[in-house]
């Protein structure tokens, strides 16, 4: 029999740390909760020390990393909330639903901050375009994104699609969302005020996606069958209702804190909200609206059913919240209360099922510092470029423009609604997407970029280059770059060579964002992206946003008229 800690993907040392935190052995529910929150996906235990390199402060930064999304000040009392997130492993198993729920998750992150989502982007990586599996994945992923995003009515303004053998077993699906919020109406994931009530709103809770966060933190096994129940079905219609109901409550002073339920469901929402405010919560699981009968406490706490949010509300506000959700035919139930003891206590059928100090589970994970070793392939790389020799220019030209990585991606973005909301000024297919801000002359530009060959060949310089490419895409459009969100897609960090690459890429990105004064206000880490025989190229996707004061001054790449002159600028 496996050791108890192995059943939840933890090490012996981590298990012992839990015992110290609790001063006793965790029971099954508690252990499972630690297991998911201490997975790489939720705890960043391999990444925390590295992420410290990123600059996170700046004149415009209103909200840096740590909340559901970062926010920058764009003037006129308006904030731009934005974040990128991965849904790689679910998309490998069930491309349509995996990608769809990826969009759902990132959009909830934005509107949980009180921001109205106005634009989405997606950054995709697949293996060989000629393989039947890749075609199956593309078809599913693109229609999943299209299904969910279109139904929500959020304009797609850009993205990337890139093919390389290394993604054959482990495709990447990253989704980014941007929203607008009045600076004085930002909501946060806090649980202040002892005696305030905890409400669960939106969809019912089922057994789907239990322990999805640990799934995201493991290599994809050859037989994905065993990991199958971890995929959820998304309901974009439900999410649209949730979005409208949440935004209607934006002016309600009785709403204290809001958080979306993503990876690790109730477990992470309760623990994180309480930890941010130094409070605890007493949760009564009998009041959770269930979709299936006979769910036990562990299942309820770990379920990753989609389209749910957690609210902390003053007692006098409960009726308002219920009323708003009822208007949109959604359910909202009081499931607990904020306490001062800093402990999450969970009751089910009258019995105390578990007690966890919130801070120990969100902050108490021992940081892992794997060995770091310069990869052999880099050591062995020729120092001098080899000569191309004789070649046929015409052929090279046609090879280039017909390469799937260079050719038009219209066949993808034509499936996304690019104009809904009546704000899209530059739609996909250009250097960057641009949308206007109604009531002002301003526009926001945004791009996602990562050519993984550069970070692969030279991690530090390649990391810089990814940031620079995004910066150039915005500048070329006439946008002043302002801030960054990033999605770090890498293989298993426990491998010393992988870890060396990972840390150097981050250092390079950090250096570039510092010099360019584009602070990193949020992001996402997705490690363990490898299959039985292939591991992905290092893929640190950068989502960069910027502002243009006069929307009329933006530029697009197309030649405008005969006789115009061409210049090359730069070195």
């Amino acid at each position: 029999m496996a050791n108890v800690w192995e059943t939840v993907g933890l090490t012996k040392h981590e298990y012992e740390t839990i015992c110290q935190h609790l001063d006793r052995k965790p029971n099954d529910l508690e252990l499972n909760m630690y297991g998911v929150l201490w997975s790489e996906h939720c705890s960043y235990k391999h990444s925390k020390p590295l992420l410290k390199h990123f600059p996170t402060k700046g004149e415009k930064v209103v909200q840096g990393p740590g909340e559901n999304a970062g926010i920058i000040d764009i003037g006129d009392n308006k904030g731009l909330a934005f974040k990128i997130e991965s849904h790689n492993h679910p998309s490998a198993v069930e491309p349509f639903q995996g990608a769809a729920t990826g969009v759902g998750g990132i959009v909830r992150d934005i509107f949980s901050m009180g921001a109205r989502p106005v634009a989405i982007l997606n950054s995709l990586r697949f293996g060989n375009i000629n393989s039947a599996r890749t075609q199956y994945l593309i078809e599913g992923v693109v229609s999943g994104i299209s299904h969910y995003g279109n139904c929500l009515g959020i304009a797609n303004v850009g993205g990337e699609v890139y093919f390389d053998e290394s993604y054959q077993q482990n495709p990447l699906v990253n989704a980014m969302c941007l929203g607008l919020v009045d600076l004085d109406k930002i909501k946060k994931g806090t649980a202040e005020g002892v005696g305030n009530l905890v409400m669960l709103v939106g969809a019912s809770t089922g057994r789907d996606g239990i322990a999805g966060a640990s799934f995201a933190s493991a290599d994809l096994e050859e037989d994905t069958e065993s990991s199958r129940p971890q995929v959820q079905v998304g309901d974009p219609f439900m999410e649209k209702l949730l979005l409208e109901a949440c935004l209607e409550l934006i002016d309600n002073e009785n709403v204290v804190g809001v958080q979306d339920l993503g990876a690790a469901g109730l477990t992470s929402a309760c623990c994180e909200m309480a930890e941010r405010s130094g409070t605890g919560m007493k949760i009564n699981l009998d009041n959770v609206h269930l979709r299936e009968r006979n769910m036990n406490a562990t299942e309820i706490m770990l379920s990753e059913s989609q389209e749910r949010m957690l609210y902390v509300v003053k007692p006098e506000g409960v009726e308002d919240v219920k009323k708003s959700f009822k208007k949109w035919d959604l359910s909202a139930s009081v499931i607990g209360e904020v306490t001062e003891d800093g402990i999450i206590s969970m009751y089910h059928k009258g019995k105390l099922e578990g007690k966890i100090p919130a801070e120990s589970i969100t902050e108490g994970v021992p940081v892992r510092q794997p060995e770091s070793k310069k990869p052999k392939y880099i050591e062995e790389m020729p120092k001098e470029p080899s000569s191309l020799g004789e070649f046929d220019h015409n052929k090279m030209w046609t090879d280039l423009i017909s390469h799937p990585n260079v050719a038009s991606k219209r066949w993808v973005y034509q499936q996304y609604d690019q104009h809904v909301g009546a704000n899209t000024v530059i739609s996909p297919g250009q250097n960057a997407g641009v949308f206007r801000i109604k009531g002002t002359n301003k526009g926001i530009g945004v791009t996602t970029d990562c050519n993984p060959q550069y970070p692969y060949l030279s991690p530090y310089n390649g990391g810089m280059n990814v940031v620079l490419e995004a910066y150039r895409n915005l500048s070329a459009t006439g946008i002043t770059p302002a801030a960054v969100t990033d999605c770090l897609n890498f293989p298993n960090p426990e491998d010393s060579e992988n870890y060396w690459v990972y840390s150097n890429v981050i250092k390079g990105m950090a250096e570039a964002t510092k010099i360019l004064d584009t602070p990193v206000v949020g992001g996402n880490v997705s490690l363990y992206n490898e299959g039985p025989t292939h591991k992905i190229l290092p893929t640190p996707v950068v989502g960069m946003v910027g502002i243009v004061e006069d929307i009329k001054k933006i530029t697009t790449p197309a030649f405008k008229k005969e006789g115009d002159l061409l210049y090359i600028v730069g070195n």
Binding site: A203, D208, E225, R228, V231, Q232, Q306
Partner: protein, 82 residues
């Protein structure tokens, strides 16, 4: 010629938003007697195969590869000679 009938449905416990929406629409039309709604897809394929065995095997493969995603769906099928 053989006729294959395939039924594909969500696995137990998986949320079916379509069926839910249909159920609440039925109720809002006043049919409170309706207690549950499930929805399935049915495919009907004509197979030009040598024998029933071959038709069954092919259909099984088609179901697995294309018609159902075992991550979230179950399927059943029958094959009849025409």
């Amino acid at each position: 010629m053989y006729t294959g009938k395939v039924t594909v449905q969500y696995r137990k416990g998986i949320l079916d938003p379509q069926a839910q929406a249909v159920h609440s629409a039925v109720k809002s039309l006043g049919y409170n007697s309706v207690k549950d709604v499930e929805q399935r897809k049915e495919f009907c394929l004509k197979l030009d195969c040598e024998n029933k065995e071959q038709a069954k095997n092919q259909l099984e493969e088609i179901c697995q590869k294309l018609l159902a995603n075992p991550a979230i769906e179950d399927y059943q099928f029958t094959v009849e000679e025409e």
